[in-house]
């Protein structure tokens, strides 16, 4: 499903954020990624969703080798993913509802059906009564939850979450992770970047631990 072999990433400045990374995440697996600040966790996710190209090595997603992908095919690759960003990346000029609608809009989804799905996603993260609110009127944690709703609304086959609970109290963090687990149980591949050791211990899934760009075993 997600397979990296001997992947390195050197940024234009010369800094090598990832060094010789190889691993495979099977379809339907749930994996944690940890590591200190600057270890290369977000870089890894950027490579997987083709935001950045690797400097060397090959990345295979759902059997497609990213380096052989035409630029025009990249959008369709991305529609397989549900992405939760470390910095939310919400649009501040449209309502919570419209933010969550975006991934359905770009695929030309039927409008009425889409609205139902958006409300279901907002309900899952506890923001149904805030659907008309603009993101600026949401608290930090609410914004993070909105970002989660947007990532799951189009029922992606792979969920990539970068610090999804960084701004959430432990009660909410637990709830959100339970939700991810339930997705995983219906076949979604889930990759969660976090520095919350407690959560990892509690769920006990496979963990990829990064240290200065290398995968520690």
């Amino acid at each position: 499903m997600i397979s990296l072999s001997q992947v390195s990433k050197r940024y234009p400045g010369g800094y090598e954020a990832l060094k010789d990374i190889s691993f495979t995440i099977e379809k339907g697996e749930m994996v944690f990624v940890t590591g200190h600040s600057g270890a290369g966790k977000s870089t890894l996710l950027n490579l997987i969703v083709a935001i950045e190209p690797p400097s060397s090595g090959s990345i295979i997603i759902n059997g497609q080798n990213l380096s052989q992908l035409r630029p025009a095919a990249v959008p369709f690759l991305r529609r397989n993913f549900g992405l939760i960003f470390q910095d939310h990346k919400l649009l501040f000029d449209r309502s919570a509802f419209d933010n969550v609608m975006l991934p359905l809009e770009i695929t030309g989804f039927d409008r009425a059906e889409a609205a139902k799905r958006v409300r279901a996603a907002l309900d899952k993260v506890g923001l149904l009564e805030r659907e008309k609110a603009m993101p600026i009127a949401l608290s930090g944690g609410e914004q993070q939850r909105l970002c989660i709703a947007r990532a799951i609304v189009h029922r992606p086959s792979i969920l990539l979450a970068d610090e999804p609970t960084g701004n959430l109290d432990s009660a909410y963090a637990g709830e959100i992770l339970e939700m991810f687990k339930s997705f995983n149980q219906v076949g979604v591949t889930v990759v969660i970047v976090t520095h919350d050791e407690q959560l990892i211990e509690r769920f006990g899934n496979r963990t990829l631990h990064f240290q200065h760009g290398r995968l520690a075993s």
């Binding site: 935001i51 950045e52 959008p75 992405l83 990346k89 649009l91 000029d93 770009i106 695929t107 947007r150």
Partner: protein, 300 residues
């Protein structure tokens, strides 16, 4: 289809949501458009005026003072059947004296003269404007019996040509300047509008939007903005024509004419609106495409 409809609606809402900014942008585009369109209108009005004037070089054919009725009738016959002559007009010696005194502000010259010194004359225009041809014609007719001399008023023709050339050059210069200014200005407005919506583009790309999808709202925005600018230009031109007509009709009445400036015809208006919408669309297309080519998700 429904996506197009929704994009159109949301673009309209976006324009209506910032009414002052929209008004300013639209009037800037309108002013920029109204200059070349107004120039076009002015030129087509001028063309109408000048086609009603004799702008062709003329040949003046002076008869001998002692040429009789017979000689004159023969000359007239020859003029009628001559293949190179387009029109001719008889000017009697009495008429010539009257025209002379009128056109020179010399008062009633005729009354003060003991006897009329001017000869009878014919004023000819030729088919074609070629200088060599005209000179050949002049020589030919000057040798007909009963003809004293034939003159080509080429100085006047050369002056008019030089003047027209100057006007055309000025027009061309203005048109080039304005066309460049218009395209650059529209592109610039849309470029800046894209910059203010950069995040929207970024997030859309991240969730899997194609370039087509990202481009659409900007194309609608550009085309709509252009169309509104075209409407503004129409309004500006219509108002200006009304205002100018006050002076024009006064001027025309001094020449005993009822001429007034014509407005834009319906198909001209359709063309203006079409061109302005297209320019807006094109500016948007160029600006978005340039942006998308140079925009990378990782480094802004």
């Amino acid at each position: 289809m429904s996506r197009h409809w929704r994009t159109l609606m949301s673009t309209l809402r976006r324009l209506a949501g910032t009414p002052i900014a929209t008004l300013i942008t639209v009037s800037v585009i309108g002013i920029a458009l109204s200059l070349p369109a107004g120039l076009y209108l002015l030129l087509s009005n001028l063309a109408q005026v000048s086609s009603s004037l004799e702008i062709q070089p003329q040949i003046s054919l002076f008869l001998k003072l002692d040429a009789g009725r017979d000689a004159q009738r023969q000359i007239e016959q020859k003029l009628k059947s001559h293949g190179a002559i387009r029109t001719f007009r008889f000017v009697s010696r009495e008429q010539a004296l009257k025209e002379l005194s009128a056109s020179n502000g010399l008062g009633d010259l005729a009354a003060g003269l003991p006897n009329n010194p001017l000869p009878d004359a014919y004023i000819l225009t030729a088919k074609g404007n070629d200088a060599a041809l005209l000179d050949k014609l002049r020589l030919e007719v000057s040798q007909w019996p009963g003809v004293e001399s034939a003159e080509l008023d080429s100085a006047w023709a050369r002056r008019l040509n030089a003047l027209l050339e100057l006007g055309q050059q000025l027009t061309l210069m203005l048109a080039v300047l304005l066309a460049f200014g218009l395209i650059a200005g529209m592109g610039n407005i849309i470029r800046l509008q894209i910059l203010t919506r950069q995040e929207e583009i970024e997030v859309s790309k991240l969730v899997g939007a194609t370039n087509r999808f990202i481009r659409l709202p900007f194309l609608y925005h550009g085309a709509l903005q252009g169309l509104l600018g075209g409407l503004a230009a129409w309004g500006i031109i219509a108002t200006s024509t009304q205002l100018l007509n006050i002076s024009v009709t006064r001027l025309a009445s001094l020449y005993g004419s009822t001429f007034r400036l014509g407005g834009l015809a319906m198909n001209d208006v359709a063309m203006l609106l079409g061109i302005s919408a297209f320019l807006g669309w094109l500016g948007a297309y160029l600006a978005v495409s340039h942006f998308l080519r140079h925009f990378h998700l990782s480094h802004h």
